[in-house]
């Protein structure tokens, strides 16, 4: 069977390796706890021995030692909890900013065909699920290895035979895990996936509950959900029956170690070697401490599997090209006006569907308007994406004022461009914040001008808090026309010389469309405009028209 390491496995291996280094302080704290536990048990053994033989030894010293070790361990618990939380938080912060940063660098064309709610849930929930890997699983895995080793050494120093008994049971732990784990490991992982799927299915059905109710299928769907859950339970229990043997094996090994050590000391003690009593008690009390980190590790096994699912989703996200070649010549474009030329540009999104643009050529002088018309899929949006630098032509070249587009730094291109789409992007914040998106540093006078020109004041004046009204999540709900006005004000404020309009009124009713159109025409004055729209709307503008048609051989009509 040919086995190749899946990207998710590779990713998680890398995370674990890096995570182990970061978790070193936490692992250190865990091992320090083991050392303190050994000391505490040493004291406890002496106290117990003293209780059995009251005259044998002074108890003040071990009592103080016991109390001191207990206090120190309590302090360690606080520190460990804090450090584990810190590790989990740091990991999530790092992963989230890298992932989001990558998606931002990739730009909107990288997200084509993926729902943003879908990606948001990966960035939020899946990365949230990686908390356990870094905060718990990685440190627990190391402590489960080194903690018991320390205890074997301590027991061995006190009594070599007890040390050997612990070593033997310790070596049997992985053996028993392997025996019970064969067959269950893979099955358990598959089962975990099935369980995640059922959760997803439940969420999906709840989200679509109105659709189910209106189709009169609520009873049927409830029965199916119950059936699926029952099936999953039966299959899960079949696996758990074997998997729980794992825990049982640990129980058995612990009992065996306990009994083994008890028997090892029983004979000499009975023979009257009473001085051995503290040693015997010490070794016996070490047994629970020996198994504690191993149990703690199996308790967080779930975290590892959750991480696996999360990793699969994360590596499936679109990744930016490994190294985007830097623009060969770095220059900016003067902002007096922008002339555009397409020279034999061809572009294909998807090989299977053929080219969207085929040897397209046109020129648009500065401060003129061009309408792109044609059915959906004819390449209107593609031309805009190319001009925005989110996609690059496979052949041919695009120039701005004679300079090839890819010789521009992205920031310079962004500075000269403004776009208004079907539905403007509005984020949760005030209306003013949203208008200032393009130029946060604009003066109040400039802001006032933009608001006047876009006729935003028409509706903000009626709001009690005016421009400071919060919109979005839990805030004021804007109508489609009001939202477009904000987008227009944004473009006025930015004062970019290249204006891209992508079906800006498609979502509006005819009356609102007229109002918005007037503002757009005002905005178009003194700018180079490319407008993608349906035919009727395009008639409202004067300028050139590029009919992308269905033939993929576009022709220009000079209307101006």
């Amino acid at each position: 069977m040919a086995r190749s390491v899946s990207p998710a496995k590779f990713w998680i291996k890398h995370e674990i390796k890096a995570g182990r280094r970061r978790a070193a302080p936490l692992i250190g704290l865990g091992l320090l706890g083991t050392l303190l536990a050994i000391g505490q048990i040493f004291c406890a053994a002496h106290l117990l021995a003293a209780a059995l033989h009251p005259a044998a030894a002074p108890i003040a010293l071990p009592a103080i030692g016991f109390a001191f070790a207990a206090l120190a361990r309590a302090g360690l618990i606080v520190a460990q909890e804090r450090e584990a939380s810190r590790l989990g938080i740091a990991a999530r912060r790092r992963l989230r900013s890298t992932t989001l940063g990558n998606l931002m660098a990739l730009g909107p064309s990288g997200l084509r065909g993926r729902h943003s709610a879908d990606i948001a849930s990966i960035i939020i929930d899946r990365i949230e699920a990686l908390d356990g890997l870094h905060g718990r699983w990685i440190p627990a895995a190391s402590v489960a290895l080194f903690g018991p080793a320390l205890i074997i050494i301590a027991a061995g120093l006190a009594d070599i035979r007890s040390g050997l008994i612990l070593l033997l049971t310790g070596l049997l732990v992985p053996v028993s895990m392997a025996i019970t784990g064969i067959g269950t490991g893979l099955a358990a992982r598959r089962q975990f996936t099935a369980m995640t799927r059922l959760q997803t299915r439940f969420l999906d059905r709840i989200r679509g509950i109105a659709t189910i109710v209106l189709a009169g299928r609520a009873d049927a769907e409830a029965a199916t959900l119950g059936q699926a859950a029952a099936d999953l339970r039966r299959r899960t229990m079949r696996i758990l029956r074997v998997a729980f043997l794992n825990a049982t094996a640990l129980d058995l090994l612990a009992a065996a170690a306990l009994i083994g050590i008890a028997i090892r000391f029983a004979t000499p003690l009975l023979a009257g070697h009473l001085a051995l009593a503290p040693t015997a008690l010490f070794c016996i009390l070490l047994v629970p401490e020996f198994f504690a980190p191993i149990r703690a590790f199996s308790a967080v096994y779930q975290d590892r599997m959750t991480a696996q699912t999360a990793a699969e989703d994360l590596v499936a996200l679109p990744q930016p090209a490994p190294t985007a070649p830097p623009p060969p010549i770095i220059r900016t474009v003067p902002a007096q006006g922008v002339a555009i030329a397409f020279e034999d540009v061809s572009f294909t999104w998807d090989e299977a569907r053929g080219p969207v643009l085929h040897n397209l050529s046109f020129r648009l002088p500065a401060n003129e308007t061009m309408m792109l018309v044609g059915p959906s899929g004819s390449g209107k949006s593609t031309i805009l994406e190319l001009l925005l630098g989110f996609a690059h032509p496979q052949s041919g070249r695009i120039t701005l004022n004679g300079a090839p587009l890819d010789s521009l730094v992205p920031a310079a291109l962004a500075r000269i461009t403004a776009i208004i789409g079907q539905k403007p992007f509005l984020f949760a914040g005030t209306i003013e914040d949203n208008i200032r998106l393009g130029r946060p540093e604009a003066s109040d006078a400039e802001l006032r001008d933009a608001i006047r020109l876009a006729r935003v004041a028409d509706f903000t004046d009626t709001l009690p808090r005016g421009l400071a009204t919060r919109i979005g999540d839990g805030g004021y709900g804007l109508s489609g026309g009001q939202a477009q006005r904000i987008a227009i004000a944004r473009a006025f404020l930015k004062d970019a010389k290249l204006l891209l309009l992508d079906e800006p009124t498609a979502q509006l009713d005819p009356a609102t469309e007229r109002d918005v159109l007037d503002s757009l025409k005002r905005l178009a004055i003194g700018r180079t405009v490319i407008l993608a729209s349906h035919a009727a709307f395009a008639h409202e503008f004067t300028g050139r028209k590029l009919d992308l048609g269905t033939t993929r051989t576009p022709h220009l009509e000079g209307v101006a």
Partner: protein, 553 residues
Amino acid sequence: MPTRSVRLTEALTPLFRIVALWRAQRPILLAGILTALAALAAGIALMAAAGDLIGSATLGIALAVPSVLAIIGLARVTLRYLERLITHDGTFRALAALRVWFFRSLAFGAGGGLGYRSAGDILARLVNDIEALDGIFLRILIPALSALALIPVLIIAIGRESPAAAALALALFVIVAFTLPIRAMARSRQSAAAEAEAGGALRTATLDTLAGLREIKVFGAEGRMLAHVQSQESRLFTAERTLARHTGTLQALAFLAAQAALLTILLIHGTQPVAIVIAAFVVIAAFETAGILPRAGIIAGRAAAAAARVLEAAETPPRVPDPVAPATLPAATSLTFDAVSFRWTPDAPPVFDHLSLQIPAGSRIAVLGPSGAGKSTLAALALKLAAPDSGEIRLGGTNIATLRAQEIHTRITWLAQATHLFADTIANNLRLARPDADDQTIWAALDAAQIGDTIRTLPDQLDTWVGEFGSQFSGGQGRRLALARTLLSPAPILILDEPCAGLDLETEQAFMRTINETLANRTLLLITHRLTGIEKLDRVYRLQNGKLTAATR
């Protein structure tokens, strides 16, 4: 303190009510509890026997106990195994029952309305709440009952030697098993609220950023949006860190209490040294069991808050209850709005003000109006998702207030703006509207919705998987799939609410042409913000200021 105990009962009530829901699962849950207690007893007996053996041996007394020890040990191991099996089986049964109960309660209660008000994220949050209830039985109930059962054991084991030491150890035990967990519960309830709020803000910020990526890049706002997302994330982490600090402190306190109890026992100078060793071993085992309770308190705090929300949502009655004695569904399918007035909430502006509309069977009517004018509310009223404040809606001449909502839904099908596509195959998504539809009928519906040709190019055809939120398909394609589902429905009245949102003009026109041809005798109520100009309609109305006026195209 009475107020504190009142608050505690208040917090625990939702949890008890969830447990009470598991009526059918009661025998297995009870069996789980009994096995858990038996396993606990065996564990304590094992520790006591081990203490006895060791204590006696160090005194030079040979006891014939190793075989007894082995038997108890074996019993303990077996009982633990059975406990794990039975409690897990019971948990899975209980959780499945809980999910089905929630789905049913929501479906027959507020669900239709909630879904209609496009509250997808509220519903998603509720699903998270249901998941937060997963630990109630295994991680809260069983440890708490085990701790209760240990109280008499401690009294007997220590009290024999020293009543004073027993009293002290018991006090410490109660602190670990009950006082600290209750504190933890209160803390985590506070923090859960803060975390939920911060988590919601983080989700909104992330969604904003992804949805607006194009404009964010054009306006050079990448850094600012990333910083915005990170500041929301930091709020979440701050809440988490506070809780982690408290958790750490509580666990350290629980540990210290256990060690103090052990030290107390070790310092007893009793007459029977062996009994002291036994007591010490029993104390170790007892506090080990109680030691997980502070963390259970944290889980309980979250679960209690979640349970309260789940119960509230599940028990919200439908906005429009069904009549006690429903009238029989008339055969006629004319739809009439007669002087209907409506507002969503008493303080909201009226959506309709004495609105009247006649939709004869088989007619084609369009209602135009800007977004927010209340066009979709027409559909909600007709489907009985909401009831008019005054006036009457009649289906086939019968006031729909006297009909059962479920029966009305067999007559009226609705393509809503937020119609959900399920993570399932295309065929199953469509069969929701007509479970007995054969493949040929499904293809016909897909063709009518102008997506049949696209599906034919896919390797899996009708078995193609529609991803979550329909993410395998573009917005326009998803819209057409939803449309195909609506067309497949056998209901005689179709309400299409912005059927062409997300479609370009050509597709829209092609679609309208198909509608013109395929509707046959079905009634059409088309709700849209503009017409393409090729619709074949009997009447067109404009909705303005809560009233309809006849409109010219």
